[in-house]
Symmetry: C2
Subunit: 145 residues, 2 copies
DNA sequence: ATATATCCAAGTAAAGTAGTAGGGATTGGC
DNA sequence: GCCAATCCCTACTACTTTACTTGGATATAT
């Protein structure tokens, strides 16, 4: 019942990107340096975020990434699902594909369904913009001295 | 972000035990047969439930397991934590041990904390007795013909 | 051109999962 | 007392997943 590094690193990365998303595109290298992540690994995570339409890339020199939409329009749920796949504690409640055959007999399904809904509602209620605001706030308070 | 078979099988097993918990202790073999689980594997799960004080064992012939307390006093949270350990999406919010050093800088911690609280609140709100009642209900409706 | 970037596809060591296997300890019924 | 049923405990193992690393190809500002 753990989130993998994909979700953990990836969320930190997109928050970092959003914080530094001004005129210029933000290269992976600078995010990796600030967040102390492997550059090559982060590359793969950004690729997932791009495929999900959350970030856009600018290739070539002076290239990098920027948010594909406003930080207020991106939820933590969007980010985590892009990185981790379905946020679903057990497969038998999965939206897609092979559903459990014993579903009318199985009482525990009710439990998994409830957990699934709660997790998704929780992460969908948090917007990237909130984390960005909080992050900028902290940065400021550290630099005040 | 998946629950392992420990949690999935174990919850089914303790519900089954609770349903059949009358005069006699219920042996692992009969639970395994009804739930179609490996007897030897289930043994390990029952051992965890026992260590957590949720079930009690009766050794020797005609032995088996029974609930250590009333099904109304056992929550799904108790069961899942006994089987899976902390229901915690990331370690840095763990109650015990090595806490993340960057906790005052890290905005994502807020997210993990929120998920953790929600998951635990969800599973703590479901009592074993509810699942037992539901399970008996279904059994009855199947046997009615 | 060249340096700076993203992009794409494999490969890999370490850890975790889902069991299996072997044997020991208890106890009810004969 | 003996046997069968049962729980108990520890190890082992095949498989899968994770968390990267590696090697290169492609695009573009200067």
């Amino acid at each position: 019942m753990k989130l993998s590094t994909k979700g953990r690193y990836g969320l930190r990365a997109i928050v970092d990107l959003a914080v530094h998303d001004e005129e210029d595109a933000v290269p992976i290298g600078s995010i990796a340096a600030r967040q102390q992540l492997s550059e090559r690994y982060l590359e793969q995570l950004m690729s997932k975020l791009k495929n999900a339409g959350l970030v856009a890339s600018v290739r070539g020199a002076q290239g990098g990434y920027r948010l594909a939409k406003d930080a207020r329009e991106i939820t933590v749920g969007d980010v985590l699902r892009a990185l981790e796949g379905d946020l679903n504690p057990v497969m038998c409640t999965a939206a897609s594909g092979d559903v459990c055959k014993k579903e009318d007999v199985c009482v525990t399904k009710y439990v998994w369904e409830k957990i699934r809904k709660n997790i998704n509602a929780t992460v969908d209620a948090i917007r990237l913009a909130e984390l960005v605001a909080e992050s900028k706030q902290r940065e400021k308070s550290i630099c005040r001295e």
